[in-house]
Structures are given as structure tokens and as C-alpha cells.
């Protein structure tokens, strides 16, 4: 079977550029008439020619989203466990060479934070750490998951790349979802952006979603950090990656995230800022190409942008977000990983969605792989009291 690296190699940067240059408006409109889209169709939707067809793309994206997800948007929130990091990603607030004070929650502190989140009504939580195995080891992440599990329907992770065995270990601790950002699919740019630390290994990271899927995680999310490379390049590679994962692991829910950098993030000058038109083009093209894939938009985007993207294909949004470690139990001024643009609370997000004609879904998962076995006799007795 073809690996993703092989597939990506078949779609070289030069081939992609040639395809984009040859795209026409008519070819884009023809794609929108097709039932099932192939990678070359997705590429046409991302092409410069497609910017003239945004309304038609949005109409199809809206229709597909309505059919497969309805008027329901899933809410989640991140919990930053640790900002200690050994990498020096040039664009990241947790860069190891930054001198800010670092923080790391104990399992009990993590539980306190998680309880605050559960109290907001959220049942889906995303655990994040820096890349520092000596403190935030898989065992530590597993221990946190096990401790907070009673409060959540779903626990996801967004951490460093692990081995298949480590992912399987986390599944056994109740983690069902993972997100891994490749940041950029261009190897040379990737190397420049990641001058030190374990994250330098491009191929190991590229293969992480596949290892996670093979290890039994139910939901695997990917994404490029928009703004690092030319939009057309990373946008296409992200969709291609998701498409390959979906074909290779049909039982796994393959999702996408669309993080976009502001033109200036800290002292890092974003090389290829992505404007709003291309951003909307990306979301609608992804929805048309991968109709049943969840798409997440984070609080990096403004409330205005998020509200308008929901009808076009976004199915997951974060709310009540803090990107700093330990910001919920005790208010502090710890440095966050990135600047938040949408500060709405869970309740405010619910209201905004309702005003927009959408429902916020707080629980959309039941981990049936680890549910305690309920003896038939016991459940029958309960049924007599509650069954209707």
C-alpha cells in the first residue's frame, strides 16, 4: 500500500504549481457538479481560479455540512498541562529559548482545572503539553487522563509525536482523540522553522497521525499552520493527508483544523499571511473534498469570522479558552501559546450559535470501548424503574 510520503512525493511542489497555473473557472465549476471529489478536484478548488467561484463553493459546502452535521456545532476546550518545551519552533510562544517562567501541573492540579472545565458544561476536553518527555511523559498524560475521565465523555490530546505503543497506552487510559499539526508539509521550510529539539524530525511527525490511528484512537485530527508556507501548497497537502488517512483507516474519524497565524506573532514575521478570502476558500474546499470530516476552527480567529464560518463547514469550535497553563483555578498572567482572538465563554458561544440558528453540542461521544460492563440482570432492574 502506498504510504503518505509516497503519495506526497507523487504530488511534487512543481506539479502542484503547474496544476494551479492551468486551472480555469470552468474547470472549478465542473468540479462543483461532481458527486465524489478526487485530489486533483480539490486542487482546482484551491486554485487562484477558484477565488472567482467562492459563492458557488460556499453553497455546496453549506449544503454538505447541513446534510452530514445538521445545525449542530460541537464545543470543546483545551487544558494546557505544561509549557515546558525542548523545541525551538520559531513561531511558538513555548519556544525553549524564550525566557518566561515555565509551569507544569501536577495530576491533582490538572484535576482541579478539569473540574472547572466540566463545571462549564463541557464534556469534550483537549489536553496539551510542550515537547518535554522528561516531565510530560506518556505516563504522566495517561495518569491525568485516568484521573479526569469520570468528568468527560471524550479526552483528546495535542502533544508531541509518540510511538504506536505509546498511543495504544494512552487509549488504554481513556484517551480517544488526538490532533497533530504538521505545521508545514515543505521539508526544507520545516527544517528551518524547527532548529532544535525532537520536533526537527519531519518524517516522524508526518507519520504520527497514522501511528495514532493504527494504535486505536477513534478520532485523529491534522492541520497545517497557515501562514508558514505559500497557502496553495500547505492547503493542498493537508487535504491530501486527510484523504489518505481516511482511505487507509476507514474506521477512524479523520478531522481537520485550520489554524491561521496573524501577520505578526510575537517577534516572528509570518512569511505568507493568509487573507480572509483564501481562508474561506480553504474551509469550503475542504468541506467539498471531505464532506463528512469534522473541521475545527480555534479561538485564533475572531468571533466574527468564526460565526460566519460555521454555515460553511466548521463543525467544532473551542469556547472558554485559555492557552496558558493553569489559568482557570487561579487567574494568572502565564504566557499563552498563541494570542486568542475570540474570548467568548461557553455560555456566550452557546448564545451566539443559537442566534445564528445552530445548536451547541456539549456531548457527542460515548466511549463504548471502555464502558464498564453492566450485568444484564442489573440493567433490567433499572429498566423497570425508568423504562418507558
Amino acid at each position: 500500500m502506498q504510504t503518505f510520503e509516497q503519495l506526497l512525493a507523487a504530488w511534487s511542489r512543481e506539479r502542484r504549481q503547474d496544476c494551479y497555473a492551468a486551472a480555469t473557472r470552468d474547470a472549478v465549476l465542473a468540479v462543483l457538479e461532481k458527486e465524489i471529489l478526487r485530489p486533483q478536484d480539490f486542487m482546482l478548488l484551491l486554485s487562484p481560479a477558484a477565488t472567482q467561484c467562492l459563492e458557488a463553493m460556499a453553497a455546496r459546502a453549506h449544503d454538505l455540512t447541513l446534510r452530514y452535521f445538521g445545525r449542530a456545532v460541537h464545543l470543546f476546550t483545551p487544558l494546557y498541562l505544561s509549557d515546558i518545551c525542548t523545541n525551538q519552533c520559531r513561531y511558538c510562544g513555548f519556544n525553549a529559548s524564550n525566557t518566561q517562567q515555565r509551569h507544569h501541573l501536577t495530576v491533582e492540579q490538572a484535576l482541579s482545572e478539569a473540574k472547572v472545565i466540566a463545571h462549564m458544561g463541557l464534556q469534550h476536553i483537549l489536553l496539551l503539553t510542550g515537547d518535554a518527555r522528561h516531565v510530560a511523559s506518556p505516563q504522566y498524560i495517561g495518569a491525568v487522563a485516568e484521573r479526569i475521565k469520570p468528568y468527560f465523555a471524550s479526552i483528546g490530546i495535542e502533544v508531541y509525536s509518540m510511538t504506536t505503543e505509546e498511543y495504544a497506552f494512552l487509549v488504554s487510559k481513556g484517551i480517544d482523540a488526538m490532533t497533530m499539526f504538521q505545521e508545514t508539509y515543505d521539508p526544507a521550510l520545516y527544517e528551518w522553522l524547527h532548529p532544535a529539539g525532537p520536533k526537527r524530525d519531519y518524517a516522524w511527525r508526518l507519520d504520527a497521525p497514522s501511528r495514532a490511528a493504527a494504535a486505536g484512537l477513534r478520532s485523529v485530527g491534522i492541520g497545517a499552520l497557515l501562514g508558514l508556507d505559500d497557502f496553495f501548497q500547505d492547503a493542498f497537502c493537508t487535504g491530501l493527508h486527510a484523504w489518505w488517512l481516511q482511505k487507509t483507516y476507514p474506521a477512524v474519524d479523520i478531522g481537520l483544523s485550520v489554524p491561521r497565524m496573524c501577520p505578526h506573532e510575537g517577534s516572528f514575521a509570518v512569511p505568507h499571511p493568509v487573507d480572509d478570502i483564501h481562508f474561506v476558500q480553504y474551509v469550503t474546499a475542504l468541506r467539498c473534498f471531505l464532506p463528512r470530516s469534522p473541521i475545527t476552527v480555534s479561538s485564533r480567529e475572531s468571533a466574527f469570522m468564526r460565526d460566519h464560518l460555521v454555515p460553511l463547514g466548521i463543525t467544532r469550535v473551542s469556547a472558554g479558552v485559555s492557552t496558558a497553563v493553569g489559568g482557570r483555578v487561579e487567574q494568572n498572567d502565564n504566557v499563552g501559546q498563541f494570542e486568542i482572538a475570540d474570548h467568548r465563554s461557553v455560555a456566550a458561544m452557546q448564545r451566539a450559535l443559537a442566534d445564528n440558528g445552530y445548536q451547541a453540542v456539549l456531548k457527542d461521544w460515548e466511549d463504548c470501548s471502555v464502558l464498564p460492563q453492566i450485568a444484564p440482570e442489573e440493567s433490567s432492574v433499572l429498566c423497570e424503574h425508568g423504562g418507558r
Binding site: 476507514p250 445548536q359 433490567s380
Partner: protein, 263 residues
Amino acid sequence: MDDVFELGGIALTSRLFIGTGKYSADALIPDVCAASGAQVITVAMRRVEKGSEGIVGHIPEHMRLLPNTSGARTAQEAVRLARLARAAGCGNWIKIEVISDSRYLLPDGYETAKAVELLVKEDFVALPYINPDLYVARDCAQAGAAAIMPLGAPIGTNRGLRTKEMIGILIEEMTLPVIVDAGIGRPSQACEAMEMGAAACLVNTAIASADTPVHMAEAFRDAVRAGRMAFLAGLGAERSGGARASSPLTGFLHALGGEHADL
């Protein structure tokens, strides 16, 4: 018209089953229930919240709950979700969904039939969601299913009775009720399924994602009723093509006269 649908020991007068997913607000559900006239409503256990009323709290008391095992990828996982549903007070009806394909959400026939077998032994009224495959349907029947629920088209597609030929075979061959489940996008398609002899239709996406779900629920109520009445009334035979000479191929026999005149 006295037309009762017996299912799992319950006498139903409505043959439209509805769902709870994809609404802009769960608060719409009571009005949709009323407008649809439905008596059975399916709810995904993955959406049911522990320790609070949540989505179930919006379902009127008179509705029969049909919890489903959405999210299960194996028979064992479906069994666990079914047990959880019963323990949560959702009764002993279970719509078995075992799906391990996230691209098309097509059901796994083998695991579904296994789940039916396991759950029937635990006294559940098992309603398996299946591809309209005669062998899978027979396996489910053999395992004790109360009805079978073949798809008209993949979930959420609103593409109608794409599997019409296969559903027709199931209606013809199976003694169990056939409830057409996914894919129905228009009231006319539900009507068509009922005209064919389906026992009932389950419709969710088409109602929940309509601009006005309550009106669409009403439209489906009438369509299902019309299709059922047409089926019971006995549809006239269809004739394809135009009028034909009465015996174009055997007319020459008339030339022989006498004994062949009745040809």
C-alpha cells in the same frame, strides 16, 4: 382505517419514526413530534448526558424511545451501548448501528447480525440498521430481530431510494417488518417506500435540516400515511410502453381458427 403496526409488543398507529440529531435546537423536538404524529423517536446514546435530562428531556413522555448505538464499531461495543441505554432508563428497544467506515457511514452487516444475536439473548427488541442485503437480513431475522432497517441511501445524503430494487426484494422475501431508514430526503420518497410495502420509514436529516422542521415533519406524516393507504388499497399494475396489439407474437395462431381462438 384501522391499521396498526405491531412492533416489539407495542401497537403503533403511526408508521413514521423520527430522530433527534442535527436540529438547530433540541427545544424544537416537542413540536416536531407533535407535527409528525410519530410515536417512535431514535436518540444516539453518544448524545445522552449522564445525570441530567439533556436531549432526552426534550422528548415528550408519550414517545417510545428507540436508543441507537451510533459510534459502535463492533458488536461488543453495540452491546455495551445497548446496556447503557437500558440502564439509563431508555427502555429495551435498540436500533443497532455498527459502523466502521467514516467515509460513507455504511453499516457492517456481519457485526450487526452478531450484535442482534447477543442483544436478543438479553431481551432487547433489536432493530438492526443494515445494507439492504438479503443474506444479512436473513441472519438478523434468524438471530431474533424484531424488524430490519435497510438504508435507502447512505446516511444524511437525502438521495432517496437508491437501493429500491434491493429493498423491494427484502419486502418480498422477509416476513419481518421492513423499516426504511437512512437516505430519505423528500416526503415523496417516503411515500414511495410505503407504497412498495415498507412497514415504516425513519426520517431524521430531511426533517431536522429543513428550513422549517415542523412543517417538514407534517409533510412526512402525510406522505407516509398516503403511501401506506395506497399500498393497502392495492396499486394498479403499471404498464410500460404504449398500447400494444393484443397478441403481436402469437396472433398468427388465429389463422388456424377454432380451438386457438381464445389466444
